[in-house]
Amino acid sequence: MSKTYYNPDDLRKFGKITEWSEELGEKFFDYYGKVFEEGALTAREKSLIALAVSHVVKCPYCIDAYTKDGLQKAITKEEMMEAVHVGAAIESGATLVHGVQMMNKYEKLSM
């Protein structure tokens, strides 16, 4: 059996991080839970943001979790894929906007 750094079963054990640092773990999960409650944004909107960010930070646990969360919230596959594209656009934009820095440097060094 091949070994990998990521094990899907570890997602279920996420809560265990509290065992080695109770106070910080509990503060984190309280905060996490609060963030995803309905607020100025709906829980549905937050789920789509989380899905996009999950892709940008390339977290396989988060992608599994927020795809499932999206299904639970009856979010359609079209909405999910659009959210991923939003993340991808920002990420590629973040790369490309550095092209201006490259252009500036190029111009500065060139005669």
Binding site: R12, T42, A43, L71, Q72, K73, A74, T76
Partner: protein, 351 residues
């Protein structure tokens, strides 16, 4: 897309005993997850006991014009089990004597029972407050002889509760079969046309959402808002309430979970979402479920697993309220489906 019931395909999971074995073994036998009984015991509420009987749920037969992927009844056109007029008459006697406030007809497609209309006419005179028919919607458009069902329901002030797994075609058809979405939309428009589901109308039309896959339903109110917005905007359809129901791991849904390698994850999700606060309101405590052949069960799911009531009285012809009162509810791991999150019942979430 499946075309035949597990029963017709002679699948081992068509046998309730096999399903119960599956639910008792594996992650529950190894102790990775606690059994439902252990979980209830830990919350100090074991055993669950029956309270006052309020809802009589009758399964008029397993015959259905659809073969849905998740069906816990394993219903379909190939199922021939149908409640007879004699058993229906025994049920009518019990409705008179028991004083139940809700009568809930289910199936299969209950309308396919040849004595369905006779039974509705008879039962409607017995003073039941809420008379529910669980209609799959497409039956209304399946054949000319069913086209007048909306008027028939209206005549007897039937509360129509209909399955609609999503407001989009692909999700609905994937779970319930090709063409189901279009026919369901037409049927909902037919029901709206006679007054069902309209704002302020006494003709109640509620929809049932159940997840089309290995995940739990979201908050019922949020889903209801999405349904209302989309169905009104796209098709001009109105309805009253949405019931979000969790799929229980039995029959065809259990088969799906096993075949798609989702069984363990799904059971973990159910157990993690266990909410002891739901135990006081689970439907098995105020319901009696009657099978097509008259046997008594604590709920429709126990009926499909052939887990009869724990009482001397086990058949509708022998109904005795004293014997059935305070009986211990029969439970197994499938019961986690009704206690997850906000809880799940045939009337949607509980909290």
């Amino acid at each position: 897309m499946i075309k035949e019931s597990l029963h017709k395909r002679e699948s081992s999971l068509s046998k309730s005993q096999k399903q119960l074995e599956y639910l008792a073994n594996g992650i529950f036998k190894s102790g990775d997850l606690p059994t439902f009984k252990a979980k209830v015991n830990k919350s100090g509420q074991h055993p669950l006991r029956a309270k006052k009987l309020e809802i009589l749920q009758l399964n008029l037969g397993y015959m259905c014009n659809q073969v849905c992927e998740h069906c816990h009844v394993d219903a379909g056109p190939d199922r021939k089990e149908i409640m007879t007029k004699e058993t229906m008459s025994q049920c009518l006697e019990v409705i008179k004597r028991s004083g139940v406030h809700t009568l809930d007809l289910t199936g299969g497609a209950p309308e396919m029972n040849p004595n369905f209309r006779w039974f509705v006419e008879e039962a409607s005179t017995l003073g039941v407050k809420d008379f529910i028919v669980r209609s799959n919607l497409t039956i209304i458009r399946a054949n000319k002889k069913y086209y007048d069902l909306p008027q028939f329901y209206k005549k007897y002030n039937i509360h129509v509760v209909s399955s609609m797994p999503h407001w989009t075609k692909d999700k609905t058809d994937k779970q319930r079969g090709d063409g189901v979405f279009e026919k369901s939309i037409q049927a909902l428009q037919d029901l709206n046309a006679v007054g069902y589901g309209m704002p302020g109308s006494h003709l109640e039309l509620d929809l049932v959402y159940n997840p089309s896959g290995a995940f739990l339903p979201a908050d019922q109110t949020s889903l209801e808002n999405e349904y209302k917005k989309s169905l009104l905007h796209e098709f001009g359809i109105q309805f009253h309430k949405l019931f979000a129901i969790t799929n229980l791991p039995i029959s065809r849904f259990l088969d799906y979970l096993i075949m798609s390698d989702n069984y363990e994850d799904y059971m973990y999700s159910l157990v993690e979402a266990f909410n002891p606060g739901t135990l006081s309101g689970v439907m098995c405590t105020n319901t009696l479920s009657v099978s097509w052949d008259g046997w008594l069960y604590d709920c429709d799911f126990n009926q499909m697993l052939e887990l009869k009531v724990k009482s001397k009285v086990k058949h509708i012809r022998d109904y005795n309220s004293k014997e059935l009162a305070d009986r211990e509810i029969v439970v197994s791991q499938h019961c986690y489906g009704c206690t997850a999150g906000a809880g799940s019942s045939c009337q949607g979430t509980m909290q």
